[in-house]
C-alpha cells in the first residue's frame, strides 16, 4: 500500500511541477524615461476569471499560470486598462499609461521612409508606404520615381508603359514578387507592374544583386518584393481619389472588417480610367493610350497567436483595356486594316494565392511556411496589322522550413518548390505553345556572430523540363569594420528562359521584320539565359554638423554566359539570337542621404552604367541606356506646434539623364535617320500634401514641371504602314508637363 502511494506521488510529481508555472512581473507607471516606478495596488487578473492578484509595494506580482488563460488584464484607477496576451509563463514588465495624460504620451518619432539595414547580409532597402505617398501614384510602375536604385524608363511611344531597370538591366532580369511569390513574370512581364495599385502596397523591399535562393533561380540583377497591406492592420475604410490634367481618373477603396477574433477580411477596389485624346506634338498619334482598368482583390487573414498560425488567402481579378494609335483610329471599323494605324491591348487576369505560416510556440526558431499561387493571364492584342495573343496559366508552390543548427546564430532554411507554366502564344499567324515545369530543392545557411559579421550562403538544385538540371549558388555577406558601417559583398548565378515576345511587345509597333536566328534551342529555338552577378557595396552613417547622414557606394557586375540578344541595329529588322561573345552590365552608384535640418531630408545620387553586348554588327552599348545619371530628392515637412503630425509635406525630385545611344538608323532614307545619340535630359517632379487631420488629406502635384518633351517620338509617323515606321526611339517624355490633385480619406 505504501509502495503504491509512493508510485502515485512519483507519477503525479511531473504534472504538479508543470501546473505550478507562474507569471511574475512588475507593473509600472509610464514615464518618458521608462524608469521602473512601481505601481502598488494595481489589479492583475486573468480575463473572465476570478484568478487575480494585487501588486505589492514595489509594483511586483506573481500569479499562477495555466494554459486556459491567455489574456491578462492590468488595471489601476487613473490609468488605462491594458490586456496582455500571454501564451507561456514568463516575466511581465508593463507600463500603464495615465488616462489624463494620454495625448501627451503619443509622441510619434519620425521614421525614415526608406530604410537601409546595417545588419542584413544582402544589400536590401525597404521603401515604406510613406515614401510611396511622395509621388502620389497610382501603380507599382510609377512608385519608383523617388528612388535612385530603380530607373524608370519610357518603354515605347505607343503603350505608354514605363519600364523599370536595375543595375542597367530591364525588368525581366529582376525577380518581382508579391509577398515573396514571384508575380510579374511570363505574360505579365510587360504591363504587370501597372497591374498592382500603389495603395495596395504596404512596403517594397529592393535587393540589389544576387538575393536569396528561396524565391527561385530567375533573378539576375536583383529582387523586388512588394508586401501588400494586411486586412488586420490597414484602415477600416480608405479612399483615395486622384485626377490629373491629362483627364486620368483613379479611385481606390479599401474596406476591412474583422469577421471573428481570428479572421480579418478586406475588399480592395481599384478603378483607373483615361479617355482623353492628346496630341501635343501634332504627329497624328495619341501621346498616351486611352484605358480602363478595374482591379479587385479580396484578402483573408487568419491569425492565431497562441497556436502560432498565420494565413493569407487572396483572390484577385483584373480587367485592363487599352487603345492607342492614330487620333482618327476607330477600332470598330479600322481594326487590322490600313484605314488608320491603331492598337488595342485587352488583358484579363485571375489570381488565387494562399500562404500558411506556422511558428512553433514552444520553439520559436522552428517554423514552416507554405505558399501557393495560381494565375491565369490572358492578353488579346493587335498593333497595326500585327496580332499578338497570349495565354499564360501558372502554378507556383513553395514550402520553407526554418530552424537552427546548435544555436540561433546559425540559422537554416530549406525547402522545395514546384512551378508549372503553360504558354499559348499567337504571333500573327504562328502558334507558339509550350509547357514549362520545374521542381527544385534549396538550402540556405545564415551565420550571424551578433557583432560584425553576417553571412548567407544558399544553394538550390532545380530540374526544369526545358532548362535541364542545374545548380544555383548564391552568397551574401556583410562585415562591419567600425561603427555605423556595413561592407557587403555578393555573388550569385541566375538562369531563365526569355519570353521574347511578351517581354518585347514594343517590337510589334514597328514595321520591322521579326527574325529568330537560332533554331536548335528549346525555347523559341533559343537557349536559356545565364548570368553571374558580382557586387560590393559600402554603407557609412555619420553625423554632419550634428545631423544624421549616410553615404552608400556600390559596384555591380552582371556577366552573361548566355543571353538572348535583342538586336535593333538594322532598322528594318529586329533579330533574336543567342549571345556569341561578351555581354555585361557594370553599374556604379553613389548615394548620399542627409537630414540637413529639422524635417528636411535630402537625397543625392549619381550613377554610371556601362552596358555592352556583342551584336552581330559588333560590340555596342545597349541602346537607350544613359551612361550618366544624376538624381536628387528633397522632402520637407511642417509640423504643428505639438510636433505630432505633419501639417504640410513637400517633396521634389530632379532627374538628369546623360546621352543615350540610338540603335542604328544609318540605312534609312535621310528624313528617317536619327543622330547617334539622344540629347541630355532633365525632369522635375513636385508634390505638396496638406494634412487636415489623421483622417483626411489633400495632395497636389506636377510631373515634368519644366515641360521637357521629345518632339519626334515616332519615326515615320506620317506613314505608319510604310517600311520605316517605328515607335521605339523614345528617350524622354512625350506629353510634357502634367498636373494632378487628389484626396485621401481614412477611418482607422
Amino acid at each position: 500500500m505504501k509502495k503504491k502511494n509512493i508510485s502515485y506521488i512519483l507519477f503525479l510529481l511531473p504534472f504538479i511541477l508543470l501546473s505550478q508555472e507562474k507569471i511574475t512581473g512588475m507593473i509600472m507607471e509610464a514615464n518618458e524615461k521608462n524608469e521602473h516606478i512601481g505601481l502598488a495596488g494595481a489589479n492583475v487578473y486573468w480575463l473572465n476569471t476570478s484568478i487575480g492578484t494585487v501588486t505589492d509595494m514595489d509594483g511586483k506580482f506573481s500569479l499562477a499560470y495555466s494554459k486556459e488563460n491567455t489574456k491578462l488584464v492590468v488595471s489601476y484607477v487613473g490609468f488605462k486598462t491594458d490586456t496582455l496576451t500571454l501564451t507561456q509563463p514568463k516575466m511581465v514588465h508593463h507600463w500603464l499609461q495615465p488616462t489624463d495624460n494620454l495625448n501627451a504620451v503619443t509622441v510619434t518619432s519620425r521614421k525614415q521612409t526608406t530604410a537601409k539595414s546595417y545588419l542584413q547580409a544582402t544589400n536590401t532597402f525597404t521603401v515604406s508606404s510613406d515614401e510611396l505617398l511622395k509621388a502620389a501614384c497610382c501603380n507599382l510602375s510609377e512608385s519608383f520615381e523617388t528612388n535612385p536604385s530603380i530607373d524608370v524608363n519610357f518603354a515605347d511611344a505607343v503603350t505608354g508603359t514605363r519600364q523599370i531597370k536595375m543595375l542597367g538591366l530591364t525588368s525581366p532580369y529582376i525577380l518581382i514578387a508579391t509577398e515573396n511569390i514571384p508575380s510579374i513574370r511570363g505574360a505579365s512581364q510587360a504591363y504587370g507592374l501597372s497591374f498592382i495599385p500603389g495603395t495596395w502596397v504596404e512596403s517594397i523591399q529592393i535587393t540589389k544583386g544576387a538575393g536569396s535562393v528561396v524565391n527561385g533561380y530567375e533573378s539576375i540583377a536583383g529582387q523586388i518584393n512588394a508586401e501588400l497591406v494586411k486586412p488586420s492592420m490597414d484602415d477600416r475604410l480608405y479612399v483615395n481619389l486622384y485626377g490629373a490634367t491629362s483627364e486620368r481618373l483613379e479611385l481606390n477603396t479599401h474596406i476591412n472588417t474583422k469577421v471573428t477574433d481570428k479572421w480579418d477580411t478586406g475588399l480592395y477596389i481599384h478603378g483607373n480610367t483615361h479617355n482623353g485624346e492628346h496630341d501635343v506634338n501634332d504627329d497624328g498619334f495619341l501621346d498616351m493610350p486611352k484605358f480602363n482598368q478595374i482591379n479587385l482583390m479580396n484578402r483573408w487573414q487568419y491569425t492565431n497567436a497562441e497556436k502560432g498560425v498565420l494565413s493569407f488567402i487572396n483572390l484577385k481579378f483584373l480587367n485592363d483595356e487599352k487603345q492607342t494609335g492614330e487620333l482618327d483610329f476607330n477600332p470598330k471599323t479600322d481594326k487590322l486594316t490600313t484605314n488608320a494605324w491603331g492598337s488595342e491591348i485587352d488583358t484579363r487576369r485571375f489570381e488565387v494565392s494562399a500562404k500558411l505560416g506556422y511558428v512553433n510556440p514552444e520553439i520559436p526558431w522552428q517554423s514552416v511556411s507554405v505558399q501557393t499561387a495560381f494565375s491565369s493571364h490572358k492578353q488579346e492584342s493587335y498593333f497595326g496589322l500585327k496580332q499578338y495573343d497570349i495565354l499564360h496559366n501558372s502554378l507556383y508552390s513553395n514550402v520553407i522550413y526554418n530552424s537552427i543548427i546548435s544555436d540561433s546564430r546559425h540559422k537554416v532554411k530549406t525547402g522545395l518548390s514546384y512551378t508549372y507554366d503553360h504558354y499559348d502564344e499567337l504571333v500573327n499567324t504562328t502558334d507558339y505553345k509550350r509547357n514549362e515545369n520545374s521542381i527544385g530543392a534549396f538550402f540556405e545557411y545564415n551565420f550571424d556572430n551578433l557583432n560584425n559579421l553576417n553571412l548567407t550562403a544558399g544553394l538550390r538544385v532545380d530540374h526544369h523540363n526545358l532548362l535541364g538540371t542545374f545548380v544555383t549558388p548564391r552568397i551574401n555577406a556583410r562585415y562591419t569594420p567600425w561603427e555605423k558601417s556595413a561592407l557587403r559583398a555578393s555573388i550569385g548565378r541566375g538562369k531563365r528562359s526569355a519570353n521574347i515576345f511578351a517581354e518585347n511587345q514594343n517590337i510589334f509597333s514597328t514595321s520591322r521584320a521579326i527574325n529568330i536566328l537560332d533554331s536548335t534551342g528549346k525555347i523559341y529555338g533559343l537557349d536559356p539565359e545565364i548570368a553571374w552577378n558580382y557586387g560590393v557595396s559600402y554603407l557609412q552613417g555619420f553625423n554632419l554638423f550634428g545631423r544624421k547622414a549616410d553615404v552608400t557606394v556600390d559596384y555591380y557586375i552582371t556577366d552573361f554566359t548566355n543571353q538572348v540578344v535583342v538586336d535593333y541595329e538594322n532598322p528594318q529588322e529586329v533579330n533574336f539570337y543567342n549571345l556569341d561573345g561578351k555581354s555585361f552590365a557594370n553599374s556604379f552608384q553613389t548615394e548620399v542621404n542627409y537630414n540637413a535640418f529639422e524635417q528636411f531630408d535630402l537625397r543625392l545620387a549619381y550613377k554610371y552604367y556601362e552596358v555592352k553586348t556583342e551584336y552581330n554588327s559588333g560590340k555596342l552599348e545597349k541602346p537607350l541606356t544613359p551612361k550618366h545619371r544624376f538624381f536628387a530628392n528633397a522632402s520637407y515637412e511642417i509640423h504643428k506646434g505639438d510636433n505630432s503630425i505633419a501639417n504640410w509635406k513637400f517633396d521634389t525630385t530632379f532627374n538628369w539623364l546623360g546621352e543615350q545611344r540610338f540603335s542604328s538608323t544609318a540605312t534609312n532614307p535621310i528624313p528617317y535617320q536619327l543622330p547617334e545619340k539622344t540629347p541630355k535630359l532633365a525632369t522635375l517632379n513636385a508634390q505638396i500634401t496638406k494634412v487636415f487631420s489623421p483622417k483626411f488629406e489633400v495632395y497636389l502635384g506636377g510631373e515634368n514641371i519644366t515641360n521637357v518633351r521629345q518632339s519626334n517620338p515616332i519615326l515615320a509617323a506620317d506613314d505608319p504602314f510604310g517600311s520605316n515606321f517605328d515607335t521605339n526611339f523614345v528617350y524622354g517624355p512625350i506629353f510634357g508637363s502634367m498636373y494632378y490633385a487628389g484626396l485621401r480619406y481614412k477611418i482607422k
Partner: protein, 123 residues
C-alpha cells in the same frame, strides 16, 4: 512487475522532464543598449548548450532556450555576469563591469538617461 514498470515510466518521465532539451527560462539582466544586447547574448551562446538567447533592451528580459542536459540556468547566469552585466540576484564584479564599453555603463545614471531617448541605439 507491474509496479516496477509504473515506477520506471515515472522515473523516465521525471528524468526527461528534468533534462528537457528545450528548457525555457527568463531572466532579468541589466543593460542599456544594442551593444549590451549583443554582449549579453554572445555570453549566453558561449555557454555550451544555449540554443536561443534574446535580450530585450526595453524590458531587460533575457529569454533563454537551452539544452538542460548540457547546461543550467546558474551556468548561463554566471557567463552573463562574467561579461559585466548584473542579473537579478547576481551582481557582476567591479572588475567585470569595468570591461564593458564606456557607453554601456548601465549602473551610471547619466549613461542610462543618454539611452532613454534613442531606442534604436545601434553602435
Amino acid at each position: 512487475m507491474k509496479k516496477l514498470i509504473i515506477v520506471l515510466t515515472v522515473l523516465v518521465s521525471s528524468i526527461t522532464f528534468a533534462q528537457n532539451k528545450n528548457e525555457k527560462a527568463s531572466l532579468e539582466v541589466d543593460g542599456v543598449c544594442l551593444m549590451c544586447k549583443s554582449r549579453i547574448e554572445k555570453a549566453c551562446f558561449n555557454t555550451k548548450g544555449v540554443k536561443s538567447a534574446v535580450w530585450d533592451v526595453k524590458t531587460h528580459e533575457l529569454k533563454l532556450i537551452y539544452d538542460a542536459r548540457k547546461t543550467n540556468l546558474k551556468t548561463i547566469q554566471n557567463s552573463v555576469v562574467a561579461v559585466g552585466h548584473d542579473t537579478k540576484g547576481l551582481k557582476a564584479t567591479d572588475k567585470a563591469y569595468e570591461t564593458v564599453h564606456p557607453c554601456c555603463k548601465y549602473r551610471d545614471t547619466d549613461v542610462k538617461d543618454d539611452h532613454k531617448e534613442d531606442d534604436s541605439h545601434d553602435h
